[in-house]
Symmetry: C2
Subunit: 229 residues, 2 copies
């Protein structure tokens, strides 16, 4: 499958490398290819310069948003969720129309440090915002509740921990599920939260997640849902 | 211990009955005792009239807020979290000063039905609001992430599922922990989220909880936190 990952940071790179390893044709979208390639300093999150990663992953091409949009059969949003509508606008509504977009992004406000607050919460969510802004795109919110290394390799954490999925289009959710299965998430551990409004629950949970990450000193954590028999 | 439970609904009754069964002297606080006792219809949540429950639980006394406040060594807030400051104001800052208040309430806005939104979220929480309004009271946020029957009987749900606790006063958290232990929560399953700001994470998780409850058709659910070894 031709997959375009939006986001040149750690999450985008981790997803892109894993998808390429699974045999997909993978592109990462950026505003300005030469600017991204010429950075020599780690980013604000301490992620090494893109060019260094690109040299180790020649199978993943870096393209400007428009070309990356034309290439895609499937999009994965791994951009900074506080500003995700910006790169999506650069790809453009028409290039995204009719296609599936897996939204793995988090609308984090880190201006006060850790744990972050959310730039959108409670009465709305990033997943819903993207779906409203791109009504012809089939938005599926998933992967957002775990660290990127866990997204693509759930066995990093023991136990029957859970991944959530939400979206209005059943076929698009099935496409997303197949990607999740290929990452190692068994069907029994994927909980379908219904329509895209379900993104609100999985995004709002992130406050607790970041508190736990800070407390336990690791992002390698996830939750398992138990219920009475 | 002399314990005053604030809230005549299902949560307050369940906590009061369990605490009385454990040998505590338990009082439930209400604005107007005769009005509460004379209701003959179920409340908005379908909970049977208080008088019916009171007849089955003569060991739990119903008192007006002021008297219930004088009686208390420990408070448990099980009132409607969207309006919890009101009954607490009726008890009064002086009667609550120096005492522990376990805040089990949720600031739910159910005006749009299920799943609810929160009346306070993201940049504040009910636990923090109560602590700010009653600075001499030692507020401990806990029990709020599970259904009331699970609060007092965690074995209803299989698995090593987790309870969260947050509060600024270490001694008050220890008092709360002893109550939790007596309900059946082992120390290893209680996660300390730090100061009262930690209430934000456990309250914001409730959106996901109510989505799951709706989806699974039961409130008898809880989460277990797994981490990489």
């Amino acid at each position: 499958m031709n997959i375009t990952v939006i986001g040149t940071g750690m999450v985008g790179r981790t997803l892109a490398a894993r998808l390429a390893g699974l045999g997909h044709q993978v592109v990462i979208a950026t505003r300005n290819v030469s600017a991204t390639m010429s950075r020599t300093e780690p980013d604000a999150m301490g992620t090494p310069p893109y060019a260094q990663w690109a040299a180790e992953h020649p199978e993943v091409r870096l393209l400007p948003h428009a070309e990356a949009g034309d290439f895609a059969e499937l999009f994965i949003n791994a951009s900074n969720g506080a500003n995700s509508l910006r790169p999506l606008d650069l790809i453009g509504r028409e290039r995204m129309a009719g296609k599936v977009l897996i939204d793995a992004a988090l609308p984090l406000d880190l201006s006060e440090g850790m744990p972050p607050t959310l730039t959108v919460a409670n009465t709305d969510s990033l997943g819903e915002q993207i779906q409203r802004a791109f009504p012809e795109t089939k938005v599926v919110k998933t992967l957002n509740t775990v660290f990127c290394e866990v997204m693509v390799n759930p066995e990093r954490i023991p136990g029957n921990h859970t991944l959530f999925i939400a979206g209005d289009d059943a076929e698009a959710k099935q496409t997303a599920r197949e990607i999740l299965h290929s990452f190692g998430w068994p069907e029994a551990r994927i909980i379908d939260l219904g329509g895209i409004t379900g993104a609100r629950g999985s995004e709002m949970y992130m406050r607790l997640y970041f508190q736990l990450a800070q407390l336990l000193g690791t992002f390698d954590l996830n939750i398992e849902v138990h219920r009475a028999n």
